[in-house]
């Protein structure tokens, strides 16, 4: 399939562009008819001097970002998204020509950028003899800023993850922090970042520095908003700072669910679900930066095994919780949303609200001005509706899929990750990924239940098109454990009378053997007499358990000397034996109808919470 190649001629590079190709000259230098803004001189001034190869890196990253924004990736309503993946050839004049011309460096650039963006190729043809004048009297090789060699360098967007990460460093260590931001033409984002940095500097005097790098297209409006290469620019800026001041590590704070970003629809191929902090992308960038800096360069991602709710909950426990409303997560701050700071319906806003409810800081987050309150108000368009519904659907699947199904459904996506998540074996990587997704799923389900409890008032009508109306049929509000209990009870109701229609169970162990077989007829989710649970000085062994679900099942067989009263004593003792995190399902087999008032029998226990009493006959 023939693709039109995009040729980018940067820094005055020359190339005879083929007639069927598309081309654009890119330059930022004041005397060269600039059409992009790259504020390199003012950035260099902050660090006094940046080595030539790192200046090249900054320019390359800036030009790649500008080309990404210039080249349209096609309409969202195309039949197939064949225009999405582009072919770029960059012709760039550089200072360190010998280094950049190496084929392995060009291959590393192509590998990182193609994966990050979902484009087909990034070819680079470097040309020598690029020069820029010194930015100040101190812009000399032998001059450098001092006192930064023990600084933590972190990317800083102003969202909750980066805020929480930076706060964690500042409150938990004595380290200095250097925050790195890319600035484009969105003043609101810049203001938010500045306000947050100011708050951090006030709380931790002398420990927070903020480096900003300005870069955007100027001569024309950007045709493409997806900006999949922006992470390259962001991390290149941080790498340039790190290498200049003698630091070999930069830190990216992003939760694991967002980093993995498993596609929610089949059309989200080729990085249409962003790979910005995907572990493979991070690894490819790290590999590239290590080659450029000729050092053992490392990109740390300390939140990779946390969900957004985990991150928010941790921040909420610190004195930094007051900053939560100031953090801006929205991806659409460029839209006109009046006095609101968040659109309220992009995937980041949705994720943030669910995380806040899951972490129990909804009161704090509710003070954030959202243009659309999706819990109570209708979503404004189909795209928002798709985003919300698919977010909830995926979380629901994560919460309810058993491990084997999870593996089959996400096999392709997981196989791309297993080498890059720092696990020793594939099995360990898979287990950690699946456990993280499961926790996220449960947190979203819990958040949704909390949203309903808080906002669904009997005296008020549910607004059509809101989340409350979308989940009006309630099935999704049930906690995963409630659904599991319901499934188990339905199964037993149907099968136990059949199993014992001729011969009653000999004793309780016999009953439990049959129950075990019935519960596991579909898949081996329940275990028999496992595991031993220690509580105080006692050890309890449940008759059955689905321990991953925090569910234990205790069986009572009413007959002969095992009266309802004696069974009640046993059940009361069971309630004490298991830790509060476990839900207990009491299966009471009562073939002779010894319990005269089922409701009263059940109520006495269920009122205590954390247990369900199910009588089977």
């Amino acid at each position: 399939m023939g693709k039109r190649v995009h040729h980018l001629l940067c820094n005055g590079a020359r190339f005879e562009v083929p007639r069927n190709a598309k081309s654009l000259r890119l330059d930022y230098r004041p005397d060269e008819q600039p059409n992009v803004r790259i504020e390199l001189p003012s950035f260099v001034e902050q660090l006094l001097h940046i080595p030539p190869r790192l200046l090249d890196l900054l320019e390359i990253a800036a030009y790649v970002y500008c080309a990404d924004r210039w080249s349209y990736r096609g309409t969202k309503s195309a039949v197939e998204y064949q225009a999405w993946s582009r072919d770029f050839v960059f012709h760039i004049k550089v200072r360190d020509f010998k280094f950049w011309s190496q084929s392995q460096i060009r291959q590393k650039l192509n590998a990182a950028l193609s994966f990050l963006s979902g484009d087909r190729k990034f070819e680079f043809e470097f040309q020598p003899n690029h020069k820029t004048p010194p930015t100040s009297l101190f812009d000399l090789q032998q001059v450098s800023v001092t006192g930064l060699s023990k600084t933590r360098i972190a990317l800083f967007s102003g969202g909750l993850d980066s805020l929480a990460g930076v706060y964690e460093i500042l409150s938990g260590t004595g380290d200095q922090v250097c925050l790195v931001s890319h600035r484009s033409s969105q003043p609101q984002v810049g203001r938010t970042q500045d306000q947050l940095v100011y708050s951090l500097q006030s709380r931790f005097p002398g420990r927070v520095q903020h480096y900003k790098f300005y870069c955007n297209l100027t001569a024309q409006r950007a045709a493409e908003e997806t900006q999949r290469t922006r992470m390259f620019l962001y991390s290149a800026i941080a790498t340039a700072i790190a290498a200049t001041v003698g630091v070999n590590e930069l830190t990216i704070f992003e939760n694991g669910i967002t980093s993995f970003n498993f596609p929610r629809r089949q059309d989200l191929l080729n990085a249409r679900a962003t790979r910005t902090t995907n572990p493979k992308a991070i690894s490819l960038l790290q590999d590239l930066f290590a080659a450029i800096t000729e050092a053992d360069f490392h990109i740390a991602t300390p939140f990779i095994w946390k969900t957004k709710a985990d991150v928010v909950a941790a921040l909420a426990k610190t004195s930094g919780s007051a900053l939560v409303p100031s953090g801006v997560s929205c991806s659409r701050t460029f839209l006109s949303i009046g006095s609101a700071s968040h659109c309220g319906e992009c995937s980041q806003c949705i994720d943030r609200r669910f995380a806040s409810y899951a972490a129990g800081i909804d009161e704090l987050d509710d003070s954030v001005p959202y243009a659309v309150d999706f819990i109570n108000s209708p979503l404004s368009n189909d795209e928002a509706c798709t985003t919300l519904v698919d977010y909830v659907r995926q979380a629901h699947e994560f919460a309810t899929w058993n491990p084997d199904h999870f593996a089959t459904q996400l096999f392709g996506s997981i196989s791309e990750l297993v080498d890059y998540v720092g696990a020793v074996t594939e099995e360990e990587a898979y287990n950690r990924i699946s456990q993280l997704c499961r926790r996220h799923g449960k947190q979203v389900m819990n958040a949704m239940a909390r949203m309903r409890d808080k906002h669904d008032r009997l005296e008020q009508k549910i607004v059509h098109g809101s989340l409350l109306s979308i989940i009006a049929e309630r099935e999704y509000l049930k906690l995963p454990i409630s659904r599991l209990v319901e499934t188990a009870c339905n199964c037993l109701d149907h099968a136990i009378p059949l199993a014992f229609q001729t011969n009653a169970p000999k004793d309780e162990p016999d009953l439990n053997d049959k129950i075990s077989a019935i519960l596991n007829v579909d898949r081996g989710r329940f275990e028999r007499e496992h595991p031993a649970v220690r509580f105080g000085l006692a050890t309890a062994i449940p008759d059955h358990s689905a321990f991953e679900e925090d569910l234990v099942i205790e069986t009572k067989y009413l007959r002969g000397s095992t009266t309802p009263s004696r069974a009640s004593d046993g059940m009361a003792a069971d309630l004490i034996k298991y830790p509060p995190s476990k839900h207990i399902l009491f299966v009471v087999y009562d073939p002779a109808r010894s319990v005269s008032d089922d409701e009263a029998f059940r109520r006495g226990f269920e009122e205590k919470g954390r247990c369900t009493v199910h009588i089977v006959r």
């Binding site: 197939e80 993946s85 997806t226 922006r230 962001y234 059309d267 910005t276 985003t387 392709g412 898979y430």
Partner: protein
């Protein structure tokens, strides 16, 4: 972090033309009737008829299928030019080998991603069907045994069948999932719709399997004939893809007209 400044996912839509709008309308009003779901799938494939016919010629689809063939041959201990099973051929290892075997700089990146995904599905499903243990993590010996089974004519047929079926299923979902969530007024309804779509895709998949079964006898013969001397040539593989996809399309159309 940085992703919060760029759309986290690009939400697609179906074209605004009448045939596609009709499909969206049909999805929204789907009432569970088999006939209606069949119509949605057939109409979708009809809307992309020329594209679907050209897929068999895509170099990435060719590469993904060739990988599965080489996997089958290598599993049986045969000689291939570029393929060697590792000492412990886990399902994940094989999937990663596939990733590097399908280049994205030629052909369509969209078809490359779909073909890779379908081949990965085939790998995972074959593994799950043939594993002695419930999980994806067997011993090196168990893993080798699983790919050895793939090396028979029957094994190859099954893997080929899985590939064609999964490719068709994913290609249909590539369109149908874009607006499914937006046209349902409640989550419950969307979930119902998802199930209905899944059933439909299931039906199409089974349909594809049926079709592939027609292909199976052809495939087994072809595999035996062409692998005696090693891996078939690219021309021979292209010929097989043309016939297999052709039979699949033919059967789907027959279904529509019957």
């Amino acid at each position: 972090m940085v992703s919060n400044l760029m759309g986290h996912e690009r939400v697609g839509a179906l074209p605004k033309t009448e045939p596609w709008r009709k499909i969206v309308k049909d999805i929204a009003s789907y009432d569970g009737e088999t006939e209606q779901s069949r119509r949605i799938a057939n109409q979708t494939l009809e809307n992309v008829r020329d594209r679907f016919e050209s897929i068999q010629r895509d170099p990435n689809v060719h590469a993904a299928f060739k990988f599965l063939m080489e996997l089958a041959i290598a599993g049986a201990g045969g000689q291939t030019t570029a393929f060697q099973l590792p000492d412990n051929p886990t399902a994940f290892t094989i999937a990663r080998m596939l990733d590097s075997a399908v280049p994205v700089h030629t052909g369509s990146s969209e078809y490359a991603a779909l073909a890779k995904a379908a081949a990965t599905d085939a790998i995972a499903n074959w593994y799950a069907q043939n594993a002695m243990q419930p999980s994806l993590f067997g011993t090196a010996e168990q893993n080798s045994e699983i790919w050895k089974k793939a090396g028979s004519a029957g094994g190859f047929c099954e893997i080929a069948r899985l590939f064609f079926a999964k490719f068709t299923e994913r290609y249909l979902n590539y369109f149908l999932e874009r607006e499914a969530s937006a046209v349902s007024p409640t989550l419950q309804r969307r979930e119902l719709l998802q199930k209905q779509i899944r059933d439909q895709i299931d039906a199409v998949s089974k349909h594809a399997f049926e079709t592939a079964r027609i292909t199976q006898s052809f495939a087994a013969g072809w595999y035996k004939r062409h692998t005696r001397e090693g891996v078939p040539t690219d021309e021979e593989i292209a010929g097989f893809l043309a016939i297999a996809f052709g039979k699949l399309r033919e059967d789907l159309r027959r279904e529509k007209t019957e």
